[in-house]
């Protein structure tokens, strides 16, 4: 990454700027791939960008950063995502 030589405080982009935010989670979203219709609602509504959109528009959950808000489960029209309490 290009670094700039400036006399001011400058932050640089970093995935996980606040660490692995997945540790904040109390409820864990579980995706049932058989039910998924690839509508991408979970992907666009995820506040964290923790739903990874694949080439074929199937999705995967990034548990390193998912904060467990549950928006994906609530917005899923076919109920392919369920929330389960973390162990």
């Amino acid at each position: 990454m290009k670094k700039y030589d400036v006399v001011t405080t400058l932050s640089y982009p970093k995935t996980g700027a606040m660490g692995k935010t997945g540790t904040w989670r109390i409820f864990r979203p579980i995706l049932n791939k058989d039910k998924c219709v690839k509508c991408l609602r979970c992907w666009i509504f995820c506040p964290e960008g923790a739903i990874i959109r694949k080439e074929d528009d199937s999705v995967e959950i990034d548990y390193d950063y998912c904060k467990g808000c549950g928006i994906c489960a609530r917005e899923c029209k076919v109920k392919a995502i369920t929330m389960e309490r973390e162990e």
């Binding site: 405080t9 932050s11 995935t15 935010t21 609602r41 528009d57 390193d64």
Partner: protein, 301 residues
């Protein structure tokens, strides 16, 4: 267009300091998809200044300038001038400010930038409170809402910021909501192509501020539109167009849901329902929304 047509690019990186269920980050992801990489953001004091996370890291993958609460409009004008001097006209300069930094503290700098005709987009993400500092009332807080500074419920109605901005006669004014991402995406794309000042206001329902469970963020935005509390429109070259359900409400083809459906899901309005139903204040709220649509019909019908 459908969600599949939205680009995969992400300019807001995962692992930020945002609360779980944050509407501002939903909005930012959609907005930055529409703006693309060649974008400079100007962010005054607001939740997004926190979402950027801790020095020396940033959760934004685009250049971003933090500026004092009241100065975002002036800073945007400065950046646009500097880019002009450097001969760059392919970069979007975008202010991303909260309702406190727009309705109250930043209004004069914003008005100044509109009057100067600065070629930029001003996006106000409106969560109807100062949520970054712990839920104080703002000029955008609805009537009757609890905040830490209006403990018994706010006694005043919010400003009509859309009308204030329209009075500047800038080329593009629009409202959007994070619950309608295609609509928001299209509006930002459209604003990007227009020269001169553009204003887009996005409703962002805040779970801790409005007191509702964090998985209902999107639902709360959708209900705000369906109950008519939040109109979706575009005002282009002094022509008004309502979008989606708001269009149906405006034309009288859709009977808007009672505002109660939206109010009773939010803890900040719970004193209107318990221990005793406050019929008077609920009616006053309902009438305010009716009057707003009546005003729209008179002016643009």
């Amino acid at each position: 267009m459908s969600l599949k047509d939205l680009p995969k690019d992400e300019y807001l990186l995962p692992g930020s300091a945002a609360c779980p269920g944050c509407p501002a980050t939903i909005g930012l992801r959609t907005v930055l998809k529409a703006l693309g990489k060649k974008t400079i953001l100007v962010v005054p004091a607001c939740c997004t200044a926190v979402i950027e996370s801790w020095y020396p890291n940033s959760s934004f993958n685009v250049p971003l300038l933090n500026i004092a609460f009241e100065a975002s409009g002036a800073a945007a004008s400065g950046i646009v001038s500097a880019l002009k001097q450097k001969g760059r006209d392919d970069i979007n300069v975008v202010v991303w400010a909260g309702d406190g930094g727009t309705y109250d503290i930043g209004i004069q700098a914003m008005s100044g930038a509109f009057e100067r005709g600065t070629d930029f987009i001003y996006i106000c993400y409106n969560n109807q409170i100062y949520s970054n500092t712990g839920i104080q009332r703002s000029g955008a807080t609805p009537y009757g809402a609890w905040t830490t500074t209006t403990v018994g419920g706010k006694g005043e109605f919010p400003k009509d910021m859309g009308a204030i901005v329209r009075a500047h006669r800038i080329p593009y004014v629009a409202t959007a909501c994070i619950s309608y991402p295609e609509d928001l995406y299209n509006k930002v794309r459209k604003a990007k192509e227009i020269r001169g000042p553009k204003y887009i206001e996005v409703l962002t329902p805040c779970p801790p501020g409005w007191r509702f469970p964090m998985d209902r963020t999107v639902e709360m935005g959708r209900l705000a539109v369906e109950t008519g509390v939040w109109p979706l429109y575009e005002y282009e070259n002094e022509e008004m167009t309502f979008n989606g359900i708001s269009r149906a409400i405006f034309e009288g083809k859709y009977k808007r849901k009672p505002v109660e459906d939206w109010l009773k899901l939010q803890g900040r309005f719970s004193h209107l329902f318990k221990p005793k139903r406050d019929e008077e204040r609920i009616k006053r709220f309902e009438k305010f929304v009716d009057d707003m649509w009546e005003r729209f019909r008179k002016e643009f019908g």
